[in-house]
């Protein structure tokens, strides 16, 4: 009887909004899982709710956390605070971006696209150069080969060889024959080990998501877990 009470009305002390919320979440969860049997209207309805909620959430968050503090407040500040008039320019670019919906004016959205693409191209060029290219090459050439014991040195040396072999594999300007072909082949072996490890981690990741939902169903809804 205690279990039935907890299942229907929540454990003692639980507020009504939490009880209703748990039931709503459980029904929506089971509606999605019904797809595993076969496609059905409950799943389609839950999917539509999911799409609608996601869009509304993003719109509200963008408004409160980005557009108000960065655009509307600087242009229409409270009395006594200065107007940041130059924020009207990104405002115009933002409007131009939305003109993409109107075929006759959609060419103006290219100005906004050009701004965004130029910005990303600039920051990514330097970011990848310093954060990945230089830093990773530096780490490779400074890999310790004289300290740490025999096994550690051997593994570090193998890692350096692996980096070079992988880079040779991706070098397609020369045919993969002879020594280059041998190095590329070694690169493939390193890549296969890495992709196998990635597959193992991917399985772990997907299963974890299921464990999370099952924990909710078994603990918070059905009260079958400690």
């Amino acid at each position: 009887m205690n279990w039935l009470h907890d299942f229907l009305l929540g454990t003692p002390g639980t507020t009504p909004s939490v009880v209703v919320g748990t039931w709503v979440a459980a029904v929506l969860t089971l509606a999605i899982y019904s797809f595993l049997y076969k496609d059905n209207p409950f799943y389609r309805a839950a999917e539509s709710v999911f799409v609608g909620l996601g869009a509304a959430y993003w719109l509200a968050i963008l408004y409160h956390n980005t557009l108000v503090p960065k655009l509307f407040s600087p242009l229409f500040p409270p009395a006594g605070e200065p107007v940041l008039w130059y924020r009207v320019f990104p405002g115009i670019l933002a409007v131009f971006m939305l003109l993409r919906f109107f075929p006759k004016l959609s060419w103006l959205s290219r100005w906004s696209l050009g701004f965004v693409v130029g910005m990303y191209a600039g920051v990514n060029t330097t970011g990848f150069a310093q954060g990945d290219f230089v830093a990773q090459i530096h780490a490779t050439v400074t890999t310790p080969l004289t300290t740490g014991g025999g096994l550690s040195i051997a593994l570090n040396a193998a890692a350096i060889v692996g980096v070079i072999a992988t880079l040779v594999y991706f070098f397609f300007s020369k045919e993969h024959r002879g020594p280059i072909g041998g190095a590329a082949r070694l690169g493939i072996w390193f890549l296969m080990v890495a992709f196998g490890a990635s597959f193992g981690y991917t399985v772990m990741g997907r299963v974890s998501l299921l464990i999370g939902r099952m924990t909710f169903l078994l603990r918070d809804w059905l009260h079958l877990m400690q």
Binding site: Y57, N65, T66, V203, G205
Partner: protein, 280 residues
């Protein structure tokens, strides 16, 4: 059994097996022993070494679909930080993160007697990804002019001490995709040299090992196992530790499926070859 073909097992049988095998260890835990890996131990040791009263940044860049893996990481890190009297500034490059961080932090703040505005602050979400990161490098208050609750940052006591990454002892990035750890490494760690750690999904973790080896990441939690290890280190086992039993059994089942599938495949290949030899 007449008509049963192991090659044509209905996938709903496999689905049912997975359901049962996940549910059983959750209801009846086995409490299997677990080790702690070097990248997680490194992260723990780094946080332990931060002087009390320092400001750390919790950068939540994740969404609800990865909550089972990442929410335990957030809780374990926040618990560790509060226990060490570190002050936390949280930011998000993903719109989904602020309420999830809020849901994780609020009960822990109550447990440790921490006050919003002095001990921790949630700056909310800002669009822009990589561009926002660079903006933070110049000025965090200018990039996040108000917090998640629309309070101007000038009115928040903690934010008067934080201008840019020079005032942050560690950035703990909880990330499930892009923008995430890679962007933090490229735009923040490499440019401003602030210590950076990552808690990420299992899917995203393997490509970040080069960053750990190069020292660009001072620690890495990968997936539910990484979260479970950190929970054990902070002596607060939670959802991640509880989930590892189920993780173990399901992995064993999937390995069994792979091996069984290949046994069937190799047997089929051999019989096809034998039939081809017979007709030749």
């Amino acid at each position: 059994m007449a008509g049963f073909d192991i090659r044509q097992i209905d996938r709903r049988v496999i689905f049912t097996l997975i359901f049962v095998v996940v549910a059983w260890p959750l209801i009846a835990p086995m409490r299997l022993p677990m080790d702690v890996t070097a990248p997680v131990q490194q992260l723990y040791d780094t946080v332990e070494a931060i002087p009390e009263g320092s400001v750390v940044m919790l950068a939540g860049d994740y969404s609800p679909d990865t909550m089972p893996e990442l929410q335990p990481m957030v809780r374990a890190f926040v618990r560790h930080a509060f226990r060490r009297n570190l002050r936390i500034v949280t930011t998000s490059l993903w719109a989904d993160s602020p309420p999830l961080i809020e849901a994780a932090m609020t009960p822990l703040a109550e447990e440790y007697g921490k006050a919003y505005g002095t001990d921790f602050v949630n700056l909310g979400y800002m669009a822009g990804g990589t561009v926002t990161l660079l903006g933070m490098g110049a000025s965090i208050p200018n990039t996040f002019p108000q917090d998640y609750y629309q309070t101007p940052v000038g009115e928040i006591p903690l934010m008067r001490e934080v201008t840019n990454f020079d005032d942050v002892a560690l950035v703990m990035n909880i990330s499930s995709g892009t923008p995430g750890t890679r962007e933090w490494v490229q735009q923040v760690q490499s440019r401003y040299r602030v210590p950076l750690a990552s808690g990420t999904t299992a899917v995203a973790a393997p490509p970040f090992y080069p960053y750990v080896q190069s020292g660009q990441l001072v620690g890495l939690m990968g997936g539910l196992k990484g979260a479970a290890e950190y929970e054990m280190l902070v002596e607060a086992p939670g959802d991640a530790v509880r989930g590892m039993d189920a993780q173990s059994i399901v992995h064993a089942l999937i390995v069994f499926f792979i091996l069984l599938g290949n046994v069937v495949y190799l047997a089929e290949r051999r019989s096809k070859a034998a039939r081809a030899d017979a007709t030749a």
